[in-house]
Amino acid sequence: MSDKYAVIGKSQIKVDGPAKVTGSAKYTFDMILPNMLYGKILRSPHPHAKILKMDTSRAEKMIGVKAVLTGKDTLGRKNGVWRRFPELCDEEILCREKVRYIGDPVAAIAAVDEETAEAALDLIDVEYEPLPAVFDPLEGMKEGAPQLHEHAERNINVTRRIEWGDVSEAFEKCDVILEDQFHTSSQAHLCMETHGAVADFGFDGKLTVWTSTQSNYYIQVLLSTMLGLREGDVRVVKPPSGGGFGSKFELDSAQFCAALLSQKLRRPVKIILTREEEFTATKRKTPMSYYVKVGAKKDGTFLAKEVRVVTEGGAYTAMGATALTLTGFYSCMPYKWPNYRYDGYRVYTNTAPTSALRGFGAPQAYFAGESMIDVLAAEIKMDPLEIRRKNAITPNYEVPGQAYIQSCGLKECYEAIEKHIQKRGKLPPNRGIGIGNYAFMSGGIFNWFNTPYAFSAATVKINIDGKVDLFTGACDTGQGSDTTLAMICAEELGVHLDDIRVHAEDTDLGPADLGSWGSRETLMNGNAVKMAAADAKRQLLEFAYAKMKPNVVYDLDIKDHKIYMVDRPERSISYFDIVQDTIRAKEGQTVIGRGHYTPHRKGMVSPAWGFGVQAVEVEVDPETGKVKLIEIVTAHDCGQVINPVGVIGQVEGATMLAAGGAFCEEQPMDNGKILNPSIGDYKVLRSLDMPKTVGIEVDTYEPEGPFGAKEAGEGLTSPTGGAMANAVYNAVGVRIKDQPITPEKVLNALKEKEKGRKKK
């Protein structure tokens, strides 16, 4: 890593580390407040039903029960993150007339302890009239299918078209055209800390909520809307969070019910979802039926791509609308398609709502897309890596009307992966290496949440002892944004990492930030922090100027606690002295720097793009169809690496989650009931299942990012599905188009292939 930086580019122990390895980190799960009550939520056992009658009296009479609330006790407002489109705010959270999935909340209880609350659930009598339900989006789209929401005919929730060029005309010119149908499965986020909140509504009319969230600003806004409060009367604090992965930036039932109960009772209320609720009644990955058609020239030049996607929406919009949009965009990446058309439909079904899961629509798109490219390569007898390289996006390319690509390290990624594959040489039988590519956004430009605030903002406060307080709204859920931002701040200010104290957990302290999702924090919040630090630094340098008298103040900079002449580094004075002087001269005011970032180019998807190429090696047992993951090598371009140890963590963590989704994770259902709602039955990769992983960072500089940095979080979940499918094909010659790639599917495919061979 380059030495032009003092702090960034060198592995740093994460600022939250010591608390986490000693057990002293206090999660929402661990919180206890004086006079606190415990809440539980009653949920629908029916996939679709009218609520005819609700009688809470028996539960209310139970000793220890303090309140039992139902939809009648709410303002009847509907929650949603797409606030610019009222009809997409469609989730009551506490249902009043109708339940739409098994797990839909109908009542909330607060009691003196968890046990009493749980026991009281059985004393709430709800009379339902079961309604015909629909679970398959393709069924749901048909005329006469059971309708979930009045406003959505044929259950169509959101549609999205993305198009450029002339696809139909272009297909005429293609030497080879291939089309196929893929399916991707549901996946659980499986945060080790389940969703939970502690809400304390005081007699001063102010609500404080401690909660495990990816966006305390979103929760503040959504809660205040749902409860009829002003944003300023709601304070959301994020203690250390036990994982999010896309499941924790929407208002959830624990947060809403705890707040509602506390509002009525004026006592702190804690609700922690059980693991079963976590599986069945929080959001999940969006399953997709994915049709794709690609056309190319004999020489491998891509000409046209057409994609039609129907997603299983579940009962409500959630972030699923974004997933639908992003899938449509990712389906063209990371290649130069002169002609492209995407039609996406999100369909309501009587299942748990589907939404964002680390990758946000990308893993689905790349599973189908990267599989098809291998088929295409085989069809025209071209090396899979070559055909990708030939069509890959290059720096300073515009995806028509969608994205300006500035930095792009794909070329270097191909070289790295090519070396790796050559090094592996000829593989033993039933082994195969498959590759997958991706591009991923560094946060979105879209603002359907409709915030007037900057997307990210930061304040830097320099105190008399030279210590720096960094205030930001970024939400570190373990990925390390607190550390990354502290490093950016320290680098810009020329101080040490331990001079920085990050205040990122509290809407009362930090400026608004959209939160950590869409791989946005490093670039967007990083820019805001860098700007704030620069602003504060500038104030110091102005006073330093008076002492050092360069021609212009730009001749000064700070590094390692020294303010120095840029071209005469030996001439320097102490940072600490200048801090003292500056504060005295400002009549004792601390030095405050302010920064913000909102991406420009509205209408585009993202200000900057991370890229990568991944090689997955598998071994398949032809007798059982079992796939063994051998090694996963990822070459990726995240711009300037800020914290190397953090980036490795992102590579390996994303790989584990993506490989799980490709390999074994799914949520089979029977009449809308998720059949494996426990970690015992839900298959998640463990240490013995985890393959060897190698991460290779290629060096690029992103002009739009802080110190040239861009995303390194979600994008890394993108290539694994397709790469694994390609690896299985290269190992035993069968192509699985339906995730996850279970032994049973592989074995059945092998048998089919055998039959086919015999016929010939």
Binding site: C191, G243, T274, G478, Q479
Partner: protein, 159 residues
């Protein structure tokens, strides 16, 4: 009817009265305030509640508190000596062997119990040792590197 429970946790002897149905993890968290040890599932499968009982890694969510009568227990809070971190804790920091940190206390318990019994393991044995602990963030390999570093003696126990 509450029953007497005598055991030692992190070197401190305790004498408590607990309901027979109380799980060990709940006594540690609620009675002793040792909230480092977590709960993550209701099916004894995630491992975040792992503690060291008489030298063995066990799941404190699947043991009745009364079954720990007379036991010597170590939780994550008992790993550091004063202000000196345990070698595993130092290694976890350096290798970024945690992210959200929710599985970390149980992971450390599994790792310590294992290395105390088998100080020179193979990589496969290290993987087996933590296979009962789910981590959704790291992909495990950084944890394996951290444990390997301790095995290689890169970190010294505080005296």
């Amino acid at each position: 009817m509450r029953k007497e429970l005598k055991f030692t946790v992190n070197g401190q002897p305790y004498e408590l009265y607990v309901k027979p149905k109380t799980l060990l993890v709940d006594v540690l968290r609620n009675e002793l305030g040792l909230t480092g040890t977590k709960k993550g599932c209701e099916s004894s499968s995630c491992g975040v509640c792992t503690i060291i009982l008489n030298g063995m890694a066990v799941k404190s969510c699947s043991i009745l508190a009364l079954q720990a009568e007379g036991a010597e227990i170590t939780t994550v809070e008992g790993l550091a000596k004063g202000d000196q971190l345990h070698p595993l804790q130092k290694a976890f920091l350096d290798y970024g062997a945690y992210q959200c940190g929710f599985c970390t206390p149980g992971m450390l318990a599994s790792a310590k119990a294992f290395l105390d019994e088998n100080p020179k393991p193979t990589e496969e044995e290290i993987k087996e040792a933590i296979d009962g602990n789910v981590c959704r963030c790291t992909g495990y390999n950084s944890i394996i590197r951290a444990m390997t570093a301790v095995v290689n003696g890169d970190y010294k126990e505080a005296k």
